[in-house]
């Protein structure tokens, strides 16, 4: 059960290939009304009905929060993933009726900031598309540093440079261009907030350097939706509902729990929001934690798991569900 959100019945109004890996999808409400208001950094969970299988993947809204006639998301094709992005790329066409969640923002701007310093890596650019639109409309002070592999994979880099000129700085991996992070972080005026979205390695690097250079944790915001990773199947006992289930290779633990008819709370399905946090009653084996919610201590304790993205290898696992 999605916590605190209701569903939106939408129709795909446009599908636009952006580059060799990324495609943009536009959604409008089927009843023609305006979509709910959102703020920059918000995401929606898209329901993908693929035969008898339903996948629920979170995607950042990338359109301007000032325009709610449509929602837009950009999906990077992941050929090695569990198939959600491939489904979007191959099967979603204009006119298809889909269901998405209400927008939820776990990566919002702190509007008390004197300045917003944004660091994007790859497809992590999408929430910043919405945030920069929001800030630019209100005269906000921001600066965006965007790292991409090559110029042709710099999704929306051209749009951003056209819109914001030298407030956007690009770094191309293939040209050996690197962010001088320590210098960047040490030269920001007091009252700056830092936002980072990109691969896990980039987020960890930026958070570590910011902490070492004296940025208070309250000023460092990050979002990384961990896609549930495929893995070896494993069995789980749900103690509260008295069921034993098998989590398939391409299935997340949360999806397996839902398939068994148990309805745990969820929100982001990407290891970020904390809603589906589940207590472990007993275990004999190894946890594969992939979330950004639990503390390292929680991970080590083996007492909690985030079933949306994390897995288990071993003899037995009993959960309080």
């Amino acid at each position: 059960m999605s916590t605190g959100t209701t569903k939106l019945n939408v129709v795909v109004s446009d599908v636009v290939p952006v580059n060799e890996l990324v495609t943009r999808f536009h959604f409008r409400r089927r009843d023609g009304e305006l979509l709910p208001t959102f703020s920059g950094g918000a995401h929606v969970v898209v329901e993908m009905r693929d035969g008898n299988r339903t996948r629920l993947n979170p995607y950042s809204l990338m359109g301007s929060p000032l325009d709610t006639r449509e929602y837009t998301i950009s999906v990077r094709r992941d050929d090695a993933g569990r198939g959600g992005s491939l489904f979007m790329h191959r099967q979603v066409k204009p006119g298809l009726e889909m269901v998405i969640s209400y927008p939820v923002n776990l990566f919002s701007l702190d509007l008390r900031a004197k300045k917003h310093l944004m660091l994007a890596g790859g497809i992590g650019i999408t929430p910043f598309m919405a945030q920069t639109s929001q800030l630019a409309g209100a005269g906000g002070n921001f600066e965006l540093h965007y790292t991409c592999r090559t110029a042709s994979l710099g999704t929306y880099a051209d749009v951003l440079q056209q819109r914001y000129g030298n407030r956007v700085r690009l770094y191309h991996d293939d040209r050996e261009e690197r962010i001088d992070l320590d210098r960047l972080l040490s030269s920001q005026p007091l009252g700056t907030h830092l936002y980072v979205c990109g691969p896990a390695g980039m987020i960890n690097w930026v958070r570590d350097r910011a902490a070492a250079l004296g940025w208070p944790p309250e000023t460092v915001h990050f979002e990384h939706f961990a896609a549930p990773q495929p893995g070896a199947p494993f069995d789980v006992t749900l103690a509260v509902s008295g069921k034993t289930i098998r989590v398939g290779e391409q299935q997340s633990l949360l999806e397996a729990i839902e398939t068994a008819g148990v309805d745990p709370p969820y929100l982001c399905r990407g290891g970020v929001c904390g809603q589906c946090e589940t207590n472990v009653i007993s275990s004999d084996g190894k946890f594969i934690h992939n979330d950004h919610w639990l503390s390292e201590e929680d991970h080590r304790s083996g007492c909690k798991i985030m079933p949306c993205v994390s897995r288990f290898e071993g003899k037995s696992l009993v959960l309080e569900r």
């Binding site: 040490s186 007091l190 700056t192 004296g214 940025w215 208070p216 000023t219």
Partner: protein
């Protein structure tokens, strides 16, 4: 020691050294001891990037103890009002990575925090430690005047003269506790005045 009574009543911690290269300390009177206590836990070289602003007060103690920490700068000020222009200038020119440490009386912590909030520092990012007097800065809700160093309950507004109940209700924006008329119905009713914020 301040106890949490209502949600706005500030509580203070114990100074602890934060990571980063620039450390700005503001302390008055016995607040200096919070800094010297913290110095025992600080990594070597910590005070090389530290500026200490100290208001010794009438007794004029603890200056030598702060000098012994060999901070990059030690500035002695006769009052918070005389320190404020320097503090504002420092905060205006500062970069992210500056960490702020406030130690001493509630009035000092509150007013320094007020300047820091205006400069964009979140109150949760500031290290604080209460030492010394519990005297309060109080704003009269009726005339809006602020009375410094209130030690009694009730207390007299130094601006409009109303007798005020000093509440735990605190404003970070004003750096003051709220004072509300205690005998609005009948001014001839004058409750006894006790010295409780020492």
């Amino acid at each position: 020691m301040a106890a949490k009574t209502i949600i706005s009543r500030p509580i203070y911690g114990t100074l602890s050294p934060q990571s980063g290269k620039h450390h700005l300390f503001i302390a008055d009177a016995e607040g200096a001891l919070a800094i010297t206590d913290m110095a025992r836990k600080a990594p070597p070289g910590f005070f090389d990037g530290a500026e200490i602003n100290f208001i010794p007060g009438l007794e004029g103690k603890h200056i030598a103890a702060l000098e012994a920490l060999k901070p990059a700068q030690l500035h002695i000020a006769p009052s918070f009002a005389s320190l404020l222009p320097r503090l504002k200038q420092t905060l205006t020119n500062a970069h992210m990575g500056l960490r702020l440490y406030l130690a001493g009386t509630e009035g000092l912590i509150g007013q320094a925090m007020q300047a820091a909030l205006e400069a964009g520092i979140d109150h949760t990012s500031i290290e604080t430690e209460h030492r010394g007097s519990l005297a309060r800065r109080m704003q009269c809700v009726h005339c809006k005047g602020i009375t410094e160093n209130v030690t009694t309950q009730p207390a007299l507004c130094s601006h409009c003269g109303l007798l005020l109940l000093v509440r735990d209700h605190y404003s970070r924006r004003l750096a003051a506790f709220q004072g509300v008329c205690i005998n609005a119905e009948d001014r001839s009713e004058v409750p006894p005045m006790e010295e409780i914020f020492r």
